[in-house]
Symmetry: C2
Subunit: 389 residues, 2 copies
Amino acid sequence: MNGLLLHETGPRLEKVRQTIIKMQADACIITTPVNHYWLCGFIFDGLLLLYPEGEPLLFVKRPAGIADERVKAIRKPEQIPDLLRQAGLPLPGRLLIEADQLTFSAATRLQAALGMPETGNISGELRKLRAIKSPYELEQIRESARIHAEVYALIPTLYRKGMTDLELQIEIERQMRLHGSAGIFRSFGENMDIFMGSLLAGDNAQTASPFDYALGGAGITPLLPLGANGTQLTPGSTVMVDMAGNYRPWMDDMTRTYAIEYAPADALKAHQVSIDIHEAIIKSFRPGIPCSELYLQAEEIVKENGLTTCFMGTVQQARFIGHGVGLEINEPPVLTPRSKEILEPGMAFALEPKFVLPGIGAAGIENTYIVHEEGLEKVTLFEEALMCL
Amino acid sequence: MNGLLLHETGPRLEKVRQTIIKMQADACIITTPVNHYWLCGFIFDGLLLLYPEGEPLLFVKRPAGIADERVKAIRKPEQIPDLLRQAGLPLPGRLLIEADQLTFSAATRLQAALGMPETGNISGELRKLRAIKSPYELEQIRESARIHAEVYALIPTLYRKGMTDLELQIEIERQMRLHGSAGIFRSFGENMDIFMGSLLAGDNAQTASPFDYALGGAGITPLLPLGANGTQLTPGSTVMVDMAGNYRPWMDDMTRTYAIEYAPADALKAHQVSIDIHEAIIKSFRPGIPCSELYLQAEEIVKENGLTTCFMGTVQQARFIGHGVGLEINEPPVLTPRSKEILEPGMAFALEPKFVLPGIGAAGIENTYIVHEEGLEKVTLFEEALMCL
């Protein structure tokens, strides 16, 4: 392992050890790729076992040949008790697992393999730990945001008259990949299927979707009812571009809105209210503020402007205006009306107050911010006005 | 619902009802998007409850406004017992769940909400039911394969001298999307992360990956160590293209190999052995054959040709040569040396005997086949020889 990697994974492992102690458990087992990567710097098919003291044990099925002295090759979890005995380590009596991600089958098999320990759920605690980023992680988000802005700067050159939403999205996807996008877009939890992001044109922005994103869209297949659906881009309608910022393992999030040929007054107004919300929140922000206050502050501005019925959708309205970003696109905290989560220094979050105007389309912007003692750092540096294509 | 949809979902629901009876359960609850789609024709955030008799109940959190009289809106699973009481339906005492996909947290919450029924796992049985396709589903696979071939036919026009594997892949991805690819690539189970497919050039084809695909590759990010890694395409090396066939909800699978400028003799030989394996299997195939026989037949041909050490990888060798295809890319059956699964009429599977030649790259082809009483129907109709770019 290189020095930077150890410098990053060492403190992360220590935080997890402290969590095991806090949760009064004997050990935890990590099984998700995202947390394998966070704690080791690489991904494997297998289990990471961590006690409150000492280095983690990596029980690895695949790939063969990882150069790490902590690795023990296994074919199945049933081999673990013998390997622990050989290493002089105890079988945990109370074990934390990633219960929000591990399947019921895998969890019950693991319990049986380890002699039926009592289990607790460490998923939420790991997500809370990951919500506070290191300087290295924050710099990755800044780098991703810089490349994200470079790609969006190409949008006017990608647009051609007569295009559909999907045709424009495909050209953006290509530029994303040429700029280093990983392609795959990591989210947490169920009902979060998505391809490379969301691009919504005209009234498709009103379509309710089963997924837990800010806005919906019909999509092009019943297996993924989300986003662009082949809507023709027509003069006076808007296109909201919310494509992935996955140019680094730690991601940013960014939305910009474009009008085709000209912007209707309603779109300009709603778009300006979105920008006003960003500015009001930046101005009044102090670390330690609960997420709910930001939501309520936004909601107040929306009310004053008479835009309540088109805020965060029409047919279906999302009840959040932002979310943490990182290795997954939906990390804590979430900016909901009742969230008790606190915005702390080291957190990175996306703010996305959006409007959907019947007959026109969506309007508004999304920026990524980093929380500092002194206030918010805007990471998304790019023209915010409604731009015409 | 349209007639076609009812014509398809009706028999599928009936097969699941029979499975509930066979498994001596009172009901089953379906929670995955893929099986919601299979049984209803659309995707929702919620639960489908099916008893051995009667129409399913759809408890839907999102989206609002589904036009289906079987839908009951809910906010959380804890509301279900009351809704069942109102409908005069019993709480199931023995309940089947999709335990291979539902998370431990979601499953235990559901158990608690429903008064702690005894649970069984219906995941495997549903996958077995889905493995036998209807004529409509098989036609979707044929259609997908036709478009898949159209996209591969463009590869010579997409290649430019001096390209990297990734640059070529990005141009193929764009053509896939322009031809209707859904983008997202559905697979079953853990350790199956993938973006739009796999393209392997030169020695990157040797790189072991944590994922359960036929071959590996280093990828471009530690979060997705699979596939293209920026390898320069150089004369005398090969490029194996195994991009997704997701042009319809029911997918096909297809691999073709290209040599840059000229094909080394070793690549031509190994590639021909792959084609020979396809032809031998087509020739001797009869429905009712166990999957293991196909594997052993292929292995024998590989041995005769002295290619054992480079069959299905070098550093890490996959122990399967094919798999069912459908709504997910890895459906049953799997063609392994010890598989007792039987190839039955109505099944569709991909056959992918591949070789990895050090210093050159991967060679071989993958076709999709449909099993009929009379033998195999080749669905992938496209030049099979090693082609030069």
